[in-house]
Symmetry: D2
Subunit: 362 residues, 4 copies
C-alpha cells in the first residue's frame, strides 16, 4: 500500500479524491491538507460533505493539516485538488521537497516539461517524469520530486475518442466541439448558481474554450528527442474550435464533436466505430485497478449517450460515444459523454497514480 | 379586422396562435378547429390549457368545429397548428377550397411552389403566392387558395443572423450549428418526458438535423425566373451540418454556430456585429404590428444570450446573438438565441399573416 | 409624481423595485443607493442585471450614491432592499432623518410600533404610522420619519387566504403550512447553489419557519387601544407550525396548508371557497394602481395552482388557491401559491407605498 | 436458488425488479412476462431500457412470454410490476394457479385477507399468508397460491418511522404528511411530462392522498383473532391527512410529517430520535440479504435529508429522518426521505420475498 496525501481535501475535488481512495487496493490516505481554517480539526468536522456517497470511515478521524510539504513527507504520492489561487506556490514547494504531485489545478498544465495526462489517452507522456525519476535514482537521490497535471475536464472527453482514431488513420486536422457541461465541475461554494441553470443554459465558461483548444494539442502532441519536453501540435497540423455551455446536469459532460482527417479519403463510419470499440487503453493492459474494462463504449441507439444513463459506465472511467455519422462539413460528427469528476478530474488523478505505481515511478 | 381560423386549436401550437390573436389589431378569431372529440364543445371545455398566460376571454366560448373547409369558409386566413399526421390531407382540402393557410406543420415545406418562411428573414419568398393570388384575382376568381409554411423552430434561429450577413458579404459556404433546444417545441401530450430532461440532456431530436440542414438552403435560396418555384442552394454552394440536443429549458432555442464566407478575406468581427445590429427586417419597414423593433440584438456580455433572460426580447420576435468571435476552424462562431414558439412557430405564422395583409394578399 | 429612492439598488430585491417603479404612474426613481463599491457609478455599470425584463431606460444613467440619508432627502419614499447585515443601522438613520422607509429587511419586523404589512391583507395596520405622521404634522414638523416592514415572502402567501376567512368565520386556532419555495427569494450572489436544487430539494431555509410562525400572529393580530403598538395573537389563540423547503422553482412559493377554526361547526368547503373568491382587498377599493383585480383566485382544476402557470396572475399581486377540501386532522386543507418577489417582497413594498399615498401619509 | 418470475417486465417497475434480481444470492430470473406485443422477443429487444444501471447480462437473452400462469408454473415466486389495468385479472389467475405473487399494483391492497407490506415495518402481517400456506401444506396440496401487496411508495416512507414510535410510545392519533415526490414513481411512458416539472411543481397526484391515508391504517393496524383478516385502525384511533406534490426529483420521496401521540405527556425529542436510531427491522434480524444495516438513519445536520444525497443509504432500503423537532400544533415534526423505487416499490417486493424464504413460506 502506497501512502497518499490529498491537498484541498475539503473542496469538491478533494472530496472526490477521498472517495476514490477509500477502498483502493493500492493507496491509503495518509495525510489531508486544507486551509489554516481547517487545520487541526478532524476531517469530519472540517468538511461540508456534499457527495452522494457517504464520507468514508477511514477519512473521518484524520486530523487535517496545513498544506506544507513537511506534513506530507511520508506520502508516496500527493493528489492536489487545490484551487488555482493556491496551487501554484504550494505544488511548487511540494515538488521541490521531493514529493510526487498529481494535480487537478490548471497552473502548470502548459509547462513544457510537465506531463498533461488523460490516463486513458496519453500515459506514454509520463515517460518524461519516469526518465527524470530514473536519473535521480541513479544519482542516488532519495526522493525525486515530480509533477503531473490532470487535463481540464472537457478536454478529457474530447481527446478520448481522438486517440485511437489518430493512431489508426493519422492526423485529424480540423476539430470542432460544442460542450454541454455539468455543474459539478464548478465545485460548490458557491459553484454554479441555481438561477443560472434553472430553465436556462449559460453559453460561457470562463477560460474553458481556450483550455480545450490548447490542451488537446499538447495531449495529442509529441515529446522532443531528448525526452524531456512536450511539443504540442502546431496550428497548421491541427485546428481546434470549442464552444462551451453550462447546462442543468449534475455530472457528465456531453460534447457534440466534428472532425476531419488529413488523410483522404477518410475511413468509413463503420471503420471509425470499430476502431473506437476495439481501443484498449494502456492502463488496462497494465492491469491498473481503475482502468475501464471498455475504454470507449460505442452506442448504436439513436438518442444516446445521455448523461443520466451513461455517465457511470466503468465507474466513470469509460467514455461513451454515440451517433457516429458523416458530417456534411467535416468528415464525421459524433456525441461524446465523459464523467467530468472521474475521468475528467479526481478519477484521472487516481488512475495516473496507478500507472505510475505499475511503472515503479512511485 | 381580418377573420382568422385556427386548426389544431387545442394543441400546443394552436394555444399559442390563440394567445397571439387575443388582442391583435388586425385579426380576430373566427373559427377554431380540432378533432371530432373536441368538436361541438366550447373551447374552454375542449382544451387543456397549459400556457403561462391565461386563456383569452374571447376564445373561451367559441364552439370548436371539425377541421373541414366548409367550417372555415368565412375566414380570411387559417393558421394551422395541426400535427403532421393530419396536416397533409386537411391543409390540402383547405387550399383547394380557396382558403389562405399558414401552416406550422412540416408536410409541405419541401414543395417547390410552397414558400417556407421565416418572416424576419425571407418575406420576399412570399412573392410566389402573391403572384398566384394576383393571377387568380385577374382571372376573376373569388378566392385563391394559398399555402405558406412556417419553418422548423431551430431553422428560424439559425437563418436569422445569416440573412444580413449574406446580403452584405455574399455566400456562406460552410455552416455548422449545435443546438440546445427547449422542450416546449415538443408539445405537451405527452411532449418530452420529465425523466429525459431532469439532470439529463438527450442528444437527439427525430428528423430535426435533416430539417435544419435542408430548410436553411431553401430559405437562403432562390426563386426561378418564372417566379413560381423555389430553388434551394445546392451542396456545392453551401454545406450545412447540424447537431440537435434537447435540454431542460422551457422556451428558447440556443444554437452555437460557426460559419465560413465564400469571400476571402472575410469581414472582421466588428463588421459582422455591426451588420447584424443594423439589420432591419422588411416586416418592420412594412409597419407590421408584431415585427421586432430590433431584429437582431447583439450582446456584448461574455455570458449571453441566455434563454431565461433573453428569449422574450421584442416579445419573442427578436433574435439575440452573442459571443461573436473568430473561429479557428471556420471564420466566425457565435451563439444565437430565438424563441421557439414565437419566431420559431406560432408567432412566425402571425407575422407572416401581417405581411400578407400589408401586401394585400389576404 | 412622488419621488422614490431605492436602497440596496444593485441587489436582487433592489432590481425588482426598480423594475416595478419603471413605468409607475405614482412614483419616479429619484435616488439609488448601494455600497461604496458602487457609489459614483452609473446604475447600468454598477449592477449585474439578472432580471428577465430588460433594465429600465430611466434607471440606467442614474448615478448610484451611498446609502446616507442626506442623499435621499428629496425622496418622498424610500424602498429598502438592503441585506439585513446593513439594514439595521441605515434604516434607523433614514427614519431619524425624517424619511419614509418601506423595508424588505427582517430587522425591525418584530418592533412593537412598526407595522408588518402584507398590503392585500392588513393595510389597516398602517394606521399606526398614519397616526404618528398626523401628530407630527399637527406639531408642525416638516417631516415625520416612518418605517413600514414588508413581511417575509412565505408569510405573505400564507396569510392572504386567512384574512377573509377570519373576518367571516372568526379565529383560526390551529394552522400548519408546508412550503415549497422558489429560489429567487434567496437572491443571486450566490443565492441557492445549482447543485442544491438540481434533482434535489433542501428541506430547510434558515430562520424561515420561525418567521412564518411569528409574523402570522402579528399580521393577524391587533393594535392596542392607544393605537401605537401591535399585539400579536398569543399561542393560546393561534398555534402555527411551518415546515419550509427549497425546490427547483424560479419564482412562486407553493404552500400546502391546513387550518382549524375555533368556531364549531366550521363552515363548509363551498362557503370557504366563496368567501375567498369574494374577498376584495382594501387597496383595490382605494383604487391603488397595483392592487389585484382579483385578490384571491380560487381554482377548481384538481392539479392547480402551479407556479409556472399561475404565479403571474394580476401581475403577481393576486394569490391563487386550489384544492380546497376537508382535512381529516384539522378542518380544511388547501394549496396556496403566491409570487414571492411581487406580493412577497418588492411588489408588496410598492403597493404599501400606493396605499400610503392614497391615504395622504406620504 | 429460488426461481423468480417478473410480470410487466418491460415496464419501469419490472426493470427495477430485474436489476435487483440480477446478482441476488437467493433468486434467479426464471421467466419474464409482458404484453403480447413483447412476447416471443428476447428481453433485450422487447424493452426500452431506461435505468442508470446497465441491463443485466442474465436478463438480456431471456425470451419474454405472455403473462399466463402456465408460463410461470416453474417459478417459486412471481414479482408483479403490472399496470393496475391488467394486474387485477392476471394476478388473480396466478394465485388461483397456486403461484406466490408479490405485487406492486394497487388492485388488491385493500382486500381484508391480503397482506399490505412495507418489509421494514410490518413483516409480521405476513403471518396471514404463512398460516394459509401451512394449512395448504398440511392438507397435502402441492402448491398454495398466495398474494402479498407492496404498499404505495409514499406510504412506505411515512410508516417507516412510525412503527418504532408506536411500539415504544403507543398509538399516534393524529398524523399529517406533505410529500414532495419524485417523478420515477410515475414510470416513463410517458410518465410525468417535462413541462410539468421544469420550473414547476404539481400539487396533485391522482389517488395518492387517499392511498396514504388508508394504507397507513392497515399497515399499522391489526389482524383478527383467527389470524386471517386485517383490521385497519379506525378513524377514532388514528386520523391521517396527506397532501401530495410532484417535484423535479428523479428518485426519492421527501415527506414533511407531523404527529401526535395519544399518550400524554409525549416523549421528548431526544427520546424520539433515540428510538428511531435504535430500531432494527425484523428482516435484518432474520439475516435477509437486502435488509438495511441501519433501518432508520437519524440525521443531525439542519438541512438534511436531501434526496440527491441521502436516497441511496443502505442501497435505498434504509429510510432517512431529519429535523426531528417539537411541533407547535401536534407533538413532533420531522422530514422523512425514502427511495420510492426501492423501499417504496420493487425493492420492497424483493425484501418481502427474502422474508418469505427465510420463513420457509416460499
Amino acid at each position: 500500500m502506497k501512502k497518499a496525501g490529498v491537498l484541498g481535501a475539503t473542496g469538491s475535488v478533494g472530496q472526490r479524491f477521498i472517495l476514490l481512495l477509500a477502498d483502493h487496493p493500492d493507496f491509503e490516505i495518509a495525510a489531508l491538507g486544507a486551509s489554516s481554517r481547517s487545520a487541526g480539526k478532524k476531517y469530519s468536522e472540517a468538511v461540508s460533505w456534499k457527495q452522494t456517497d457517504l464520507m468514508p470511515e477511514n477519512a473521518k478521524s484524520i486530523v487535517v493539516t496545513e498544506c506544507k510539504a513537511e506534513n506530507f513527507a511520508h506520502c508516496d504520492v500527493v493528489f492536489s485538488g487545490l484551487d488555482s489561487d493556491y496551487a501554484g506556490a504550494i505544488e511548487k514547494e511540494f515538488v521541490e521537497a521531493g514529493l510526487a504531485v498529481i494535480s487537478n489545478a490548471k497552473n502548470y498544465r502548459r509547462e513544457p516539461d510537465v506531463p498533461l495526462i488523460v490516463p486513458i489517452v496519453n500515459p506514454e507522456h509520463l515517460s518524461v517524469v519516469e526518465n527524470k525519476v530514473k536519473k535521480a535514482r541513479e544519482a542516488g537521490e532519495k526522493k525525486a520530486g515530480l509533477l503531473v497535471c490532470i487535463s481540464n475536464c472537457s478536454t478529457a472527453g474530447l481527446v478520448a475518442p481522438l486517440k485511437p482514431l489518430v493512431e489508426k488513420y493519422g492526423p485529424i486536422d480540423l476539430l470542432t466541439a460544442t460542450t454541454l457541461q455539468a455543474i459539478s465541475g464548478a465545485g460548490f461554494s458557491p459553484g454554479v448558481s441555481g438561477i443560472d441553470v434553472l430553465d436556462n443554459i449559460v453559453p460561457y465558461i470562463s477560460g474553458e474554450e481556450d483550455k480545450m483548444e490548447w490542451e488537446t494539442k499538447k495531449i495529442l502532441g509529441n515529446i522532443n528527442d531528448k525526452g524531456d519536453t512536450f511539443v504540442p501540435l502546431s496550428a497548421d497540423k491541427m485546428k481546434v474550435s470549442a464552444q462551451c455551455n453550462r447546462v442543468a446536469v449534475s455530472d457528465g459532460h456531453t460534447e457534440c464533436i466534428s472532425l476531419r482527417f488529413a488523410q483522404r479519403p477518410p475511413p468509413s463510419v463503420e471503420e471509425v466505430k470499430k476502431t473506437l470499440s476495439e481501443y484498449v487503453c494502456d492502463a488496462r493492459k497494465l492491469g491498473c485497478y481503475s482502468a475501464p474494462k471498455q475504454t470507449i463504449h460505442v452506442l448504436e441507439e439513436p438518442d444516446r449517450p445521455q448523461p443520466r444513463l451513461d455517465r457511470n459506465r466503468d465507474a466513470g472511467y469509460g467514455v461513451t460515444v454515440g451517433r457516429v455519422r458523416e458530417d456534411p462539413v467535416l468528415d464525421f460528427k459524433m456525441v461524446v459523454l465523459s464523467h467530468n469528476t472521474v475521468i475528467g478530474a479526481a478519477g484521472a488523478g487516481i488512475l495516473i497514480a496507478e500507472i505510475l505505481k505499475a511503472k515503479n515511478v512511485i
